[in-house]
């Protein structure tokens, strides 16, 4: 039974904008990020990577590297525990352990250019890199598949032999093209045949990268008793522990992972890459700490981008503007190992609308590119591009108002999501209504610069959010401040949003709660900082811990007053007697009397949340295009999003603005640009061009609050939704500006000029 809560309208701490607790460390340079760790006797590691997209590894000769001055150890896949054929749960579903190990260091084959092949530890980083270059690898280069179409070629070699003849591959006819699911409801074929208006489109997207500014890093050291200590920048210390334990085939309890500050993740710092290599090097080098920092090029080529792919979609509507059917095929690129997250795409594609007859077919497509990782609402921006583009085109074709059509078909409580679940209370209608009330919506688009044209578009998006497990410990100081210990690494101000929920519950100020993120030995299990779950789930754990602390303090008050503990109540930060109005004491004053009433007060809270409550956003984009050059500038941008309840509105706005900026980059510029032989040609920030401050306007935000009934303070996750609408919103604005529909990302200058020329 899921607990539900009635929303309150007035709070003392929630909804305010205190300075974040970790702010001082981060503006003074004192904060310790993964790369900043220094340990006694520490040496440095470096990784050798495959230059080939698809190649059999015939031999690896490490002798020259091992002979170099200053080199302490060299490791290859042979130095990792051999996986055998075993399925393991690494926190993101069950996978073959061999694939997980081989993605850390390749064994028989390199499956993408950038695939790690060997690791070196040396006295310093420069020496380690030099030694890595001295390792000689003999490759037999194989044909490589770069995109979805390549994998349909019957002569293309199978990337993973395991899929040859598998049921999912047999259905598609190729081992690299594995069918994952069909979701079907109603009779989509009949409904499409009878629909008054039918529209169809094929959409193609290139892989993109999360682009976090801090490269991956890991430092590891073994103790002589077989315990492994790891310091790293990660979205989940416990997730790292779980993955390292699987790869190293050891007990989780023998591993301590200390999460240092993390310089961005967006999903990309959930998988492990360097930790087992650093651990294997540490062991071989004689139990000294080994630190590895991934260089930027390898972050692009060797860590997990977001899936590109091909999507076909067909929509049918009645003449009075009701969607009657949708039919889609999603072919999403997984990279060299399975895991495109096409399942999430299937959950999101129809989630904005009430569609009575529908089908979704999902394929996981193996290509010789790095293994895909989560990227902020993984799988949703791609399918939003398809459906929000086609909804716009359908409206133009049939003469429907684009806003009214969306509003008339909007998903609401009771609507069935494409993959089956029935929506609880959601805010899609409220978000659309609020979008129509914004200043942006009601303002003229303005004059374009001479020779340029302007256009406006809008689009909506959905992310389901997750709950999962979190733990929080509280201890009360005798001055009435509270130490809060949590396991959720803080990427965007969540120490503040969790501390604020504890403070609200305890009736004290945000500044009176001191949050600390700790290692895996020091707090209960806490799942990743991902799925927009931290403020929701770890905040819920903080609420539970705070309720337990209040209950314990009621007992202390009863002892102080020699009354029955049932007679003590707590409201607005004050304990009082229900029967004797003379007896009352504030939270802080009672904290000063712990010594007299039984000693220290500590409490814990933990949650395992099935339900999360999905969230919606609608974005409005004005842009200006130079038809000569194709250069496109976003000139005005507004985000409307349901946050359930904004705990710290500044950081809610920050999530919205940051997600939109990434989405705008995805729409206009960003892509894995692959050479014919499958090597990424633009693996630097110079060539993989993310938006700069000069590329964006101020981004306006409107926070809609439709409280989430399954959270004590009504919180809905906010981190991921904002990357979903930008790609179609930009595409719809481009169509409005230049009159041409682009169905491929990025919609960059070259594509715009080519479209205008044809």
């Amino acid at each position: 039974m899921v607990a539900t809560f009635e929303p309150k309208s007035e709070y003392k701490v929630i909804g305010t904008r205190p300075i974040r607790h970790d702010g001082l460390d981060k503006v003074t340079g004192r904060a310790i990020y993964g790369a900043d760790i220094k340990l006694p006797s520490m040496i440095w590691g470096a990784i050798l990577r495959s230059p080939h997209a698809h190649a059999r590894i015939k031999s690896i000769d490490t002798s020259a590297a091992e002979a170099m001055d200053g080199v302490h150890a060299v490791v290859t896949n042979a130095d990792l525990p051999q996986a055998g054929d075993k399925m393991v749960d690494l926190g993101e579903g069950v996978t073959n352990l061999k694939w997980a190990v081989d993605n850390i260091l390749a064994s028989d084959k390199a499956l993408y250019a950038g695939h790690a092949v060997a690791g070196v530890a040396a006295v310093d980083r420069y020496t380690a890199e030099e030694a890595a270059r001295a390792i000689k690898v003999e490759y037999e280069v194989l044909r490589s598949a770069t995109n979805v179409d390549d994998t349909i070629d019957p002569d293309m070699p199978a990337i993973l032999e395991e899929f040859v003849g598998s049921p999912g591959a047999e259905e598609s006819g190729h081992a690299n093209h594995v069918k994952e699911f069909t979701h079907e409801f109603g009779d989509p074929d009949a409904a499409l045949a009878e629909a008054d208006h039918v529209i169809e489109g094929e959409f193609s997207l290139e892989m993109v990268h999360q682009g976090y500014i801090e490269p991956h890093n890991a430092t590891a050291v073994w103790d002589e008793d077989g315990r492994l200590k790891i310091w790293t920048s990660t979205q989940g210390a416990f997730t790292v522990r779980q993955q390292v334990a699987a790869v190293m085939q050891m007990d989780e309890s023998k591993i301590r992972v200390t999460p240092l500050e993390i310089g961005g993740g967006f999903g990309g710092k959930i998988p492990i890459y360097l930790e087992p290599v650093a651990a294997a090097l540490s062991k071989k080098a004689g139990n000294v700490p080994v630190k590895i920092i991934m260089e930027r090029r390898s972050v692009f080529e060797g860590s997990g981008p977001a899936a590109g792919g091909k999507i076909t979609l067909k929509l049918g509507a009645t003449k009075d503007g009701k969607i009657v059917a949708a039919d889609s095929v999603l072919r999403m690129e997984a990279g060299g190992y399975p895991g495109s997250l096409v399942g999430a795409s299937g959950m999101c594609i129809y989630a904005c609308y009430n569609i009575p007859n529908m089908r979704i077919v999902g394929y996981d497509v193996l290509v010789n590119k790095p293994k895909v990782a989560a990227y902020r609402a993984p799988g949703s921006p791609q399918v939003a591009f398809a459906i929000e583009t086609l909804v716009d085109d359908l409206c133009e074709q049939a003469g429907f108002d684009k806003w009214q059509f969306r509003r008339d078909n909007a998903a609401k409580e009771g609507t069935r999501r494409g993959d089956g679940p029935i929506f609880p209370r959601i805010g899609m209608e409220e978000v659309l209504d609020a979008a129509k009330e914004t200043d942006h919506w009601n303002s003229d688009i303005g004059e374009a610069s001479p020779g340029r044209v302007r256009g406006r578009g809008f689009a909506s998006g959905y992310w389901f959010n997750v709950g999962l497990q979190s733990s929080v410990n509280l201890s009360l100081n005798n001055d009435g401040t509270v130490e809060l210990v949590e396991g959720s690494t803080d990427i965007g101000g969540t120490r503040a949003s969790i501390a604020m929920q504890a403070a609200e519950t305890l009736g004290i100020s945000a500044e009176d709660v001191n949050p600390t993120v700790v290692d895996t030995d020091t707090v209960g299990f806490t799942a990743v900082t991902g799925g927009s779950r931290v403020t929701y789930a770890t905040g819920y754990a903080a609420y539970n811990a705070s309720i337990e602390m209040i209950d314990k303090l009621k007992v202390r008050a009863s002892r102080l007053w020699s009354i029955d503990e049932e007679d003590v109540q707590f409201e607005d930060g004050v304990f009082s007697s229900k029967s004797d109005s003379e007896l009352s004491i504030g939270f802080k004053d009672l904290a000063g009397k712990l010594d007299d009433t039984g000693g220290p007060v500590t409490s814990t809270g933990s949650v395992d949340l099935e339900a999360a409550g999905g969230a919606y956003g609608t974005h409005i984009c004005d842009l200006e295009v130079d038809p000569e050059t194709g250069k496109t500038d976003v000139v005005r941008y507004t985000i409307v999003q349901d946050a359930g309840r904004a705990i710290h509105p500044s950081y809610v706005e920050g999530q919205m603005q940051g997600g939109a900026a990434q989405g705008i980059g995805w729409a206009l510029n960003e892509e894995y640009y692959m050479s014919d032989d499958g090597v990424m040609s633009n693996s630097s920030y110079l060539d993989y061009r993310m938006p700069t401050s000069l590329d964006l306007p101020n981004i306006e935000t409107v926070i809609v609050e439709v409280p989430n009934p399954v959270h004590p303070y009504g919180v809905r996750g906010v981190g991921e939704v904002p990357i979903v609408p930008p790609v179609p919103a930009v595409g719809n604005a481009l169509k409005n500006a230049i009159g041409i529909r682009l169905r491929e990302t990025p919609m960059n200058a070259g594509r715009i000029v080519a479209a205008l020329d044809s």
Binding site: R17, I19, R20, D22, G23, L24, K26, V27, T28, G29, R30, I32, Y33, A35, D36, S41, M42, I43, M68, D69, G70, V123, D124, R125, Y126, T127, Q210, Y212, I213, E214, E261, I262, G263, G264, E295, R296, I491, G492, G493, S650, Y651, E653, G654, Q655, Q657, G658, G659, A661, Q662, S684, Y685, L686, M690, P691, T692, S693, L694, L696, N698, I699
Partner: protein, 164 residues
Amino acid sequence: MTTQITPGPARVHVRTTINGNPHEFLVPPYMSLLDTLREIVGLTGTKEGCLDGNCGACTVSLDGRIVDSCLVLGAEIDGKSVETVEGMATPEGLHPLQQAFLEEAALQCGICTPGFLVAAKGLLDNEPAPDEHRIRHWLAGNLCRCTGYDKIVRAVQKASAEMS
């Protein structure tokens, strides 16, 4: 750097001023200023993002000029003066830019923040009242992937207003 002898050519002797303090050390001739600050001097507030001058996370001020410290050699700062994020606050308190970044929530993960602060200080030291476009143009060499820049630009505007 550990105290173990590292391979390579002879070290270069450097005397320099960092955040107003005199420093003297030996540095390998190939070592970047970024690594020199982080590994030899011990100032890890300056961050590595790309090592090719495209992200600005390692921005420092060298004799008053904003540079990417990954593109400068440690040996080049001999006789010069370097300012890093660690030198911005004084015993009297935070620099107005640091305070404005906190108040305006202009950081999320914080990895780009030292570079932005040093770069923005470089702007305001010479142009106390830049307009929004000038701020966006000046900061275009610093990448932030979390904020969408909105709150960073507002923080610089706020600090500018308070300093003038």
